[in-house]
Symmetry: C2
Subunit: 189 residues, 2 copies
């Protein structure tokens, strides 16, 4: 998606350690008009797939997910990071390792909000190793719901997660796919 | 706002300890169409006040804030809960006690995203003691920005925070104001 790629080139910052900072329009300060265009693109891509629920993970996926839910006119559920490792019989639960923070988050979704009849579109801001999406897929599976696919804002393709998911026949639609980033710049492809 | 009050009566659940559970449409599963109507109402109320930034706090304020930003066509910033108590010179920082969780969160906003020229509208899902809004007001003050007011989904008026803020001449616009909740039901006013 040209609009997002251009915005990354204009406003993104490359930090040491292979970190792409996009917190002036995507995940700290957010440009709602850009995210609305992204949501419309995911709607265009998945509109014939019977999506009736959007699932994301707090906190930075919520903005894109809510605008996508607005396009699909369906509920949006966000998986919550839990303080407790205790298993509750009222939630679906999974562990998601965070490579940015070097820890693991327990995330939960109330069983009331993921149903066997749901056709679920996952939405997230970043796809790198795929850990977050794989965790969300686990929640969908626990609920016996149907996974339609995943809409991702920025895929760091060189980290491989997206291509692993695609070998599993998961439909992953990334709006900007970065194949390399280094001192010479950011390459999409 | 009639639409929100009706939804609270239909789908909200009163739990022991004075907790109103609205997580099937507001803060776990989210109804984007309801939140869009709420955002339009805040826009109607604050449209002549020169708002050029929306500020909220992760995670449950983000959905309402992003839709409000869409109405105002302005950036949305969410204050992040920080793992670190270390003071950084790159962020504004404050402490917000959580009465639900019995702890205190350090929340931060990058100095890049709150500017002295900003006219800030705060958005949050709940107003009870006012601790979250007071914390966000502190961030606005640190930045030397102008506080326009606060848009709140549900005010638990009997907890007093909203009325304290109003005695300080803060404009608080709550879309549903609960004056009492008990076994006999929920009263608005």
């Amino acid at each position: 998606m040209e609009l997002l790629e251009q915005r990354i080139l204009t406003d993104g910052k490359l930090l040491p350690g292979g970190i792409l900072k996009v917190d002036n329009f995507l995940n700290h300060q957010i440009d709602p008009l850009l995210l609305q265009e992204m949501a419309r693109e995911w709607y265009r891509l998945f509109q014939n797939d019977g999506v009736n629920k959007i699932l994301t993970i707090e906190a930075s996926g919520i903005a894109a997910a809510i605008l996508t839910g607005l396009e699909f006119k369906c509920p949006v559920v966000f998986a919550k990071k839990s303080r407790s490792k205790n298993i509750s019989d009222r939630v679906y639960q999974t562990e998601i390792p965070s490579f940015t923070h070097g820890n693991t988050n327990t995330v939960v979704v109330s069983k009331e909000y993921l149903l066997p009849t749901d056709r679920v579109l996952l939405i997230d801001d970043f796809l790198a190793t795929g850990a977050a999406l794989i965790g969300l897929m686990g929640l969908v599976e626990q609920a016996g719901a149907t996974l339609v696919g995943a809409g991702v804002a920025i895929e760091k393709r060189f980290q491989g997660g997206g291509d692993v998911l695609r070998t599993w026949d998961i439909r992953v639609e990334s709006l900007a796919r970065i194949v390399s980033m280094d001192d010479t710049g950011i390459q999409f492809g």
